[in-house]
Amino acid sequence: MTVPMFALKLSGVGKTFTMHLQGGIRLPVLRDVTFAAEPGQCIVLAGPSGTGKSSILKLIYGAYRCEAGEILVRHGENLVDVATAEPRRILALRRGVIGYVSQFLRVVPRVPTLAVVAESLERVPARREPARDSVRLEANGASPASTATQFDPGGALLDPAYARAAELLCRLNIPEWLWTLPPATFSGGEQQRVNIARGFLPDLPVLLLDEPTASLDAANRAVVVDLIAEKKQQGAAIIAIVHDEDVRDAIADQVIDVGRFAPTN
């Protein structure tokens, strides 16, 4: 008999926000969050908005501070408790263990889409050719923004990280002519797909997905469902928030109603 090894386990996790600017009122959001995810398993967090689903993902990722309970994440041979780990331990988890697809892409000025995605692989420095013309433009007082992203995707694609990024962007139907542009001006759906590509490119054992299909059409939703299935097959533990019932039915091994972690008043 082998006991299944969890990839991630939350026990008794609680979260309360104290709003000092509103007279210090305390907003309890979560109480006694307890569940575990095994490799290859997809857990969908369900419940109406405002029940703390995103907060659970942020607690696991270490973006919110955890005041109560423990959040154990398997990192190789070790178990790391995100609730108490030092910042650099959490950073190491983010590089090697936990991937996170947030609801919105946080765009960095000037970085082309292909680099945004490829940079998610560990130790891939951004590749961009110096925008020589913009130096002169700037000297003339013009904005360098328009020429800031000249880089050579052909050369970059020799790098396996960039080649894989390109492959994923293709699958997610981001047309090639957009790859050299920073995603700042993309539509919501395009940005979300860039964000998904960025989150799905590294092979990480834990993947947190915050409404990855919210603003996608049916064809792209199907691509994301396929990508999630592949990740599960590779043994990733996935915690996802999805409102779309078809997507939920297609990916979930277990649905957890977050309402059960509501603090009792």
């Binding site: 919110y64 130790r123 951004a126 000297a139």
Partner: protein, 264 residues
């Protein structure tokens, strides 16, 4: 040369109980933290919160009234900065450290050429071959997106953004492990700022630099820093991972700071 944070490496720099008074007035009080190789720490807070004092203490430009700073030298030996000789401190400053001033005129020599500004740091570490110094300077200009054709111009004729990028090149040419930055994008136009920031972000990650960045701009901290230290009235009131501090601020002052930003 990657940004890998090797888990068992000792810290690069450790500050313990740093305190500085200017007569009766407090500069900063009891500041302690450890900085690891490849880690970028942002120090945020309003004017007068002690950020700049802290930066000057860390870079040994000011002597603390209490506390100490230990630095792991290139030979792997960790030493108390106060025990270094003046010559050793200067050597550290010229080679293993960089210091990017908000006002590029403080960090550059305005009357000599861009190439000499970059080359000077190389000569300080013993480079003598003119051709090689010039080639290295040109390649660094290129790297910070300054047309190497302009290598013989003095920075006086450069725009603010170019001067700031030149200052970055001057600082990084000796392959430092730690860079101090004081409001590196303060006073620049927004579009120019974005460019300097992106450049810094790329270079810091590529070279695996450790950096301490003083800024009052939380967007700069978000973009560049792994960790944030929030200062108020000379003391550190909150510290944590960048997203923890910005997305889940605990201290009343940090909450005020975070909620005071106008979303674009």
């Amino acid at each position: 040369m990657t940004a890998a944070l090797v888990d068992d490496d000792p810290p690069l720099l450790v500050a313990e109980g740093l305190t500085k008074w200017y007569g009766q007035r407090l500069g900063c009080r009891d500041v302690s933290f450890a900085l690891y190789q490849g880690e970028v720490l942002a120090v945020v807070g309003e004017s007068g919160s002690g950020k700049s004092t802290l930066l000057q203490l860390l870079s040994a430009q000011l002597a603390p009234d209490a506390g100490r700073i230990c630095y792991r030298m290139r030979d792997g030996v960790t030493r108390d900065l106060a025990t270094l000789s003046e010559a050793e401190r200067r050597f550290l400053f010229r080679t293993d450290w960089g210091y990017v001033h908000q006002d590029s005129r403080l960090g550059l020599r305005m009357t000599v050429s861009a190439g000499a500004n970059v080359g000077e740091r190389l000569m300080a570490v013993g480079w003598r071959h003119y051709g090689r110094i010039r080639a290295s300077a040109a390649s660094w200009l290129d790297r910070v997106e300054i047309d190497p054709d302009r290598i013989d111009e003095t920075p006086g004729g450069y725009s603010g953004g170019m001067r700031q990028r030149l200052q970055i090149a001057r600082n990084l040419v000796t392959d430092p492990r730690l860079v101090f930055m004081d409001e590196p994008t303060g006073g620049l136009d927004v579009s120019v700022q974005a460019r300097v920031l992106d450049l810094l972000r790329g270079i810091v990650a590529e070279l695996g630099l450790a950096a301490v960045i003083v800024t009052h701009d939380l967007a700069v901290a978000r973009l560049l820093a792994h960790r944030i230290l929030v200062m108020k009235g000379g003391a550190v009131i909150e510290t944590g991972l960048t997203d923890q501090v910005l997305d889940d601020p605990q201290a009343p002052y940090t909450q005020l700071l975070v909620s005071s930003i106008l979303p674009p």
